[in-house]
Symmetry: D2
Subunit: 337 residues, 4 copies
């Protein structure tokens, strides 16, 4: 931590700050510049995370030196983490190709989709049983009934299933059916939920919040790891910006950045990131070329009948085309699945 004193800070204020740092077990290193006094706090600055140094009289600015996260960091673990989802590996050259409908709607549509995406090359099945919807009047998901259909689809196709959990009270239930628990973008900072999925032993797919920085995203992953669950896969799904042509703005550089800062695998959701069917193919290729460890893509055999996100769902045949394209890139990118 580097603390910059105000130009008019007094010696008493400086001494007070130094005392405060020592109280926390840190050493203060004082640098007297021509216009400002700067204090370096030597020691583990994480102990200062909840100390409001800015509130101390005479302090102008507080600058953090170390990353606020630990267990998720590359410094903590140098090699890529590989997350195993019921036998399907993600990370370290193992590519996840997750596909399926936005929501589970009925058995026939689900199994048709699951069989087709499997045939096209998907290695995991996605589908929502509990659905976060902006409107209280929109379809809210089938709930446990949907989880049962997902489990049955897994049995028939062999594809492990990923599905969203929205609330601490559902964690046990969802975990009893699913192979991987998804935390949606709107819940990325639902800290009680993060703790709850940190307490189970199921892999977690953690979506980035719509307006969350890369560091906040990693801090949310830190919540999960700090409870003992290290099987976390990050998912970039577009951030909210001023641009309205696309539903969100896909931040592909954040994928590479997260991989630099952390050892966790990072995948991309081009469906939510763009919200436009025509952009999913180029962004899928871009994601793989940019180093992503996987993709999650919405597929529906009859998008116009979909109860949610039909606008951005690919037809199974379009998904097959994307999957084929990805195979061509896989060689150049050293990815296998």
């Amino acid at each position: 931590m580097v603390i910059v004193m105000r130009q008019d800070a007094t010696e008493e204020q400086l001494a007070h700050l130094v005392g405060k740092l020592q109280e926390k077990g840190l050493t203060a290193h004082i640098s007297r510049g021509t216009e400002r006094v700067i204090v370096g706090a030597i020691g583990d600055e994480r102990v200062l995370q909840s100390v409001p140094l800015q509130a101390i009289p005479g302090v102008e600015q507080v600058m953090q030196i170390l990353q606020p996260f630990k267990l998720v960091s590359r410094e903590f673990r140098k090699e890529d983490s590989v997350v195993d989802v019921s036998g399907v590996k993600i990370g370290g050259g193992h590519f996840a190709l997750i596909a399926g409908p936005c929501s589970v709607e009925n058995w026939d549509t689900l199994i048709e989709t699951a069989q087709k995406v499997k045939a096209a090359g998907a290695n995991l099945l996605r589908g929502g049983a509990f659905k976060p919807r902006t409107s209280p009047y929109a379809f809210q998901g089938m709930g446990e009934e949907g989880l049962k259909l997902l489990a049955r689809a897994r049995q028939e196709t062999g594809l492990p299933v990923v599905t969203e959990v929205m609330n601490t009270s559902q964690v046990e239930l969802v975990a009893s059916y699913a192979d991987m628990l998804q935390i949606g973008a709107r819940n990325m900072q639902n800290f009680d939920l993060l703790k709850a999925v940190g307490d189970v032993r199921k892999p977690v797919l953690l979506k980035r919040g719509l307006s969350s920085t890369i560091k906040e995203w990693l801090m949310s992953a830190e919540y999960i790891l700090s409870r003992g669950n290290h099987a976390v896969v990050l998912c970039e799904r577009g951030i909210r910006t001023f641009e309205t042509y696309t539903r969100n703005t896909l931040d592909l550089a954040a994928v590479a950045a997260a991989q630099e800062l952390s050892h966790l695998p990072v995948i991309v959701d081009p469906s939510h990131a763009t919200g436009k069917r025509s952009l999913i193919e180029p962004m899928s290729y871009a994601a793989m070329a940019g180093g992503a460890d996987g993709l999650t893509i919405e597929v529906h055999p009859r998008p116009e009948e979909a109860l949610s996100d039909g606008d951005q769902s690919l037809l199974p045949e379009d998904f097959a085309k994307v999957a084929q394209g990805l195979r061509r890139f896989a060689g150049v990118c050293n990815q296998t699945w």
Copy 2:
């Protein structure tokens, strides 16, 4: 709903769309322009909210005409709603001056703060017992113990208390102690939580999400009203933008806009919106002058010892100065408290 067909849309595609609309009980009104065919859907377009019209072949663009919310809208209720929090009215000329520490930390600090803000003119006491924190290693709040201290502070000062509820499993507990339940910015789209507070009969303070549009904010309020709880107060607390000098960007025009679109009272949180002590005073005055129905301000007698948000907490004497300033504006603004 207005649906714009692609330039190359066929008559079959048009007929298919028209059939789809009729199936939903709407009438299609077709307008053949020089470059595009436009279809107006006559009837209650809200039935189309979960129909992915965009996914229908030949459709280029779908434009919503009506607001997606209903119970919270000005059209539904013309006059200002007044929310009663254990005797303190908010809205319609009744100003809420909510003050207190970010977190409840111990009895002495809480009661000292409560007595001082009351003396300065606050009419409601705030304080967090359950705290959403970016870092798993930061102070997470006192929990039920904190709720008990709040209830005791209410007893001693007569100030009704507002406190955050983070999780559906806490709703009953928090509601048994608090006079008003706060939904934090990060939970604005925690839909299960919205339903849960919609099911109790306590007033709710609904903070705007960091990257939520005004319409999404109102849709979240709609969740609560649609469950039968009409005592909702909205709170603008700054949105996330590219500007980093302030912690967030206070969007005061959103207050006036929300008041135009909705009958619900709207208050402002200048503490989180700016994150800078020096900006709280001018933004408090601006909020009142701009028509806000109240303010919620963080106050701490020893900010440098605060376990959260010390950087932006006002000293009780600074808060008293702000409260005094607000009294001068109150006459011009027709606000009383």
Copy 3:
């Protein structure tokens, strides 16, 4: 400047950095922490502004301590600057109430508007002769003809005129007619233009760019002051965010922040900031209450015939109502005009 070395930085790399700093006339102050070595650069760090320290091997992070601007800063000049526009003072308790049409369109409309806004209390007349338009097919302004009409309107009403200059080649021409030169938001970082208006001796109204930080805005003002023209008034006109209900997001905290960081007067343009007629009144009051030194408001007697920005123009009678409201706030806010 504080430079943080990478964890794996070598002693040679550190020595190389220290040499680099010394070469620039600075002293290096080395702080060896438990996880990182930190180097403080003692001296005037502004000499480092164009030295890419980040590019030096072993450097992890470079943190600036001092503000990059100088002449515009409060440290350089403690008291509020008062800018004189042909006899009308702005700043230090002198309020600017600038009003007029978006564009100068013809003599009749201009003089009608000028007389009415004067009668309502405006002390400066605005109007564009050169118009920056998103579309090449939209009305581009009357050019010099418009400047002549503005000068004539000044003669008839006594109101000094403010008008935009878009290009270095127009500076001399515009300065020969106008009392104050406006730099539009899209030109805030048109550095050649900033230099050109810095070279004339006319007051400048510098609008904040749509996505410019407060610091960048002040750096653009620094360009003008550094050429010898100290008569600069800043204007907050809304920034671009994800919110689309308003045309832009009015950042009122930026006004107070700019006044803290700088001695220059800061005014507000609620017309462009909101783009919605109904929001101009509340935001005008909020601006004054929040400490703004003035307002610039678009007024048109027949908005539906306006050649630009008709959607957000007030009728003269609506402007009169706002001006009257402002008078009521002026006493509380210690503003006169």
Copy 4:
């Protein structure tokens, strides 16, 4: 254009609007819904671009149906445009690999860089002689002297040169030396400059503004084409968002979107988009895989001595590695150069 009337709009107001549309040569098509009357304007709605329909009493909302641009649109020209820069083709499968220093600083560094990037596979040389700098105290470029060095480097290497023009008064000068004129992000809406480069017959590289939407970017290109210069290449260089880890947020979906909406080639600048050396390689691959028609990359043999942007410049050997990687992707992407 679709115009939605307010719920309380009168028949007179409707008749007035219809008259207004007819006056402009359009036909009004009236649709009476259950809650609103909707008016479709049949004809070329571009004539309405500067008519403030929103200002007409009774109008609630105005929705544009057609894109505001014409010459740059895919509807205007179906096939990809190929821009020829002194013999180097860009677009339609011809990949531009532009490289060179941020600024031209001296002959030795320039020619060393030019020779090395050519050897590595670059087909165009970039370098700034006129530099837009946030600070008036930073290096502002060598001016004409820099242009001469660029021309000499072209002669020695055979690489056509791309360089920025900042001001209308420089257009002729820059055009006399350069093969392609660059319009920087901060000048994307410097409309006089757009007109000026539209009047010369040199290809233009038009960077997207920091906070410009895809449509505004295309409108700026429309300015150039509407003056008769059709040789425009678009360049995505990152937009400004809340994320601060990267300098800007690379919006790769905007590249694919711009290619859908327009026939113009679109390239990517990963150097400015990320501002981080380590992210340039993955984002270069992602750009090509996502369909970009080229890249522009900053290269400097001694980044720590660079007078601008040294922090994000690649070493020539790192650039060579990226160029090699791109060759591997080129086959999959059907790009040649």
